[in-house]
Amino acid sequence: MKERVERKLEAVQEVPKKTSARKWTESAKKVRGLVANMYLRAVTEGKPVAWVMFTLANELFVALDAFPVYPENYAALCATKRVGEPFIDRAEADGFSNVTCSYARIGLGYSAIWQETGEIPLMAPDGGMGKPIMMVGSALVCDTRYKWFQTFSRYLDVPYYAFDIVSPPAETAHRPDVREQYMKYNLEQLKGLLSFMEERLEKKVDWDKLDEVVRRGEETYRWWFDAYMLGGSAVPCPFPAEDSFRCFVPAFFMMGEVEALEFYKDLYQEIKYKADNKIGSIPEEKYRLLWGGGLPPWHTMGIMDYVEERGAVFVFQAAYVPMPHVDIPDRITNPLERMVYSRYASAIMRAEIDKKLGLFGACNVIGHGNPVLFVDQFKIDGVVMHWLRSCRGTTIGQVYQKRLLEERSDLPVLFLESDMCDVRDYFEEDWKMKLNAFLETLEARKKGGG
């Protein structure tokens, strides 16, 4: 099996031109290896594999010693290696619209090819996603997710489970009755997922182990948050957005593992050292930019290098923002309850911060931050937002955020359009022209004309 994987790894290394971005931190350089290892182990170690939506529940898989594989991450991997197109084409040939989420299209095309050939598609990078024994979907972040994983399960004839993590309306989130009801509901959802997993894995969870994993996850969240906030605030910037777009991988897809905790401790120490010693990424930081919203263009992360060559650096990205610290009361000892409490409290905290600033106050557990929050904190000169043709979840609301930015900060905002994975929606010359014009605008402002 390992030979087959290696043969496939060789087969997909024909990337015609470098489209990825430079890595500035040692931690970011490690991520590629972590990702490759994640997929390789799922294929070679013989442990049960689950295809999972990003659900904030990775700890359950760690505790039950199963391999979660995340098709979202895999789609981004395909995009970065510019091998997503055959999967997208196949999904569209099967009737999926070209505005269906491109993460979904890559996974669906992959599944369709697998169903047809009976094996992992040969063009799949990193050995492919291992054969699953279960699918776990969730509506967290966007509604495509329910049907997407249900469709996977039909292609591959694998049992599917969908669960929910819901957030209350911001105005009522603090009412004890509302809080109790929501937390009860979310707890039931997690319990349901756990039962499904136990049934599929034919084993019961070890509650002591789950407790250990969940508490390790809590610590990991803290290091992740501290590292990212320090990275954004340090001048010059030692941890540009292209690095933080890599470094969220352990938090999203390895939460609860020892490796993830160690990763964020190391990342924090590395950023702290660089911040203390004023070691920035680029030699002369003329403009500090904020990636204000929208997933990144995984197919062309090298565009960040292009910006940096012109003296600008994305010092923070608001697409994958860690959950703020949450103090979980000691009386809550059940690990599932601790998971529910931290997600809910974090969502409320976010809503509260928004409300204090007079913002809309959306109450959600997902990691998208309002760019207005970061403008002063990170000494931002300009904001770039990414309209994604196939992602409503992260594109909707960007015009509202732009208006807020204009009202409150008078900062210039640039909209770029393409897609997170579908490179057909990307037009490099257009991006470069707009970025150049944007930097000229920032220069004019610095000179006092604008």
């Binding site: 015009v399 732009k402 905002v413 359009e417 257009d430 014009a437 605008t441 004019a444 004309g449």
Partner: protein, 278 residues
């Protein structure tokens, strides 16, 4: 001292030479071969005033073909150059709407500097190309469309924003017996509506100027005025604003260098055709 601005757009190449004011200007087609031969347009402009290229103190290239101009000292985007050019022609303008051959853009301007901009993406709707396609379908010359549309009394609604679908729609309307001027008015309204909606995201402020080749079409300008609710300004030669802005920027850079006693940062310039393949 002379300064030149070279604006290589998708359809037309424009060259302006100035000292204290514009003393020479040329507009020539870009085309596949002409893009490589922007030097010829420059030579024509120099011939107009009888000066050699060496006497040009500074050359700024702009437009989408700006990168491959071997005789330019600096490349600056068309956004910045348009703003500069517009400000020199109409200092009161706060919003510029530029509709070129393959793109449409809105630019917010304060004191000649860009404070925000927006552009269409990868779509011919709302650009000069849209009108070119429609002119072909209707068997008209581009410069006939504007005046003819002003005769319309019963504008046809063109609902599609896609150039290809709009073409089909126009063919259907012709088959229905709609008058040519009414179809043209509908097309102008479609393009104006699309551009207006895009630029409105910048929060349009008066005065507004319309530039680019499409500004020569009175029908589109009128339709834009209908959406805006007030009259717009149009330069005498709306294709030249980018090149004028480029030349002005060259002049400013030179003057700043001279005033501060710094050398003028020019490049080794070759007035020759661009080489794309080495």
């Amino acid at each position: 001292m002379y300064f030149a601005g070279v604006d290589i757009g998708s359809t037309m190449t424009k060259v302006v030479i100035m000292d204290e004011e514009v003393i020479s200007s040329i507009i020539g087609p870009t085309g596949p071969e002409h893009r490589r031969l922007a030097n010829r347009v420059m030579e024509d402009a120099l011939r107009q005033i009888g000066i050699p290229f060496d006497e040009i103190a500074y050359v700024v290239a702009t437009g989408y073909g700006r990168i491959n101009v071997p005789f330019a000292d600096k490349q600056i985007t068309e956004i910045t150059c348009h703003a500069k050019g517009v400000n020199s022609l109409f200092p009161t303008v706060r919003t510029a709407i530029d509709i070129g051959g393959q793109d449409a853009k809105g630019i917010k301007i304060v004191n000649g500097k860009v404070t925000g901009f927006i552009m269409n993406d990868k779509c011919a709707a709302g650009t000069g190309r849209f009108l070119e396609v429609m002119a072909e379908v209707l068997g008209l010359e581009l410069d006939q469309m504007g005046e003819l549309s002003m005769k319309s009394r019963n504008k046809v609604k063109i609902s599609s924003t896609c150039t290809v679908f709009a073409e089909q729609e126009v063919i259907s309307r012709i088959a229905d017996g709609a008058l040519l001027e009414d179809i043209l008015a509908g097309l102008h309204d479609a393009i104006a509506s699309r551009v207006y909606r895009m630029v409105q995201r910048l929060k349009i402020e008066r005065d507004v100027v319309v530039t680019g080749g499409v500004a020569k079409n009175t029908g589109v300008v009128k339709a834009l005025e209908n959406y805006l609710g007030f009259p717009v300004l149009v330069p005498e030669e709306p294709l030249l604003t980018g090149a004028i802005g480029a030349a002005l920027i060259g002049r400013e850079l030179t003057q700043k260098a001279l005033e501060s006693g710094q050398p003028i940062e020019t490049k080794v310039r070759r007035l020759e055709a661009a080489t794309f393949f080495k």
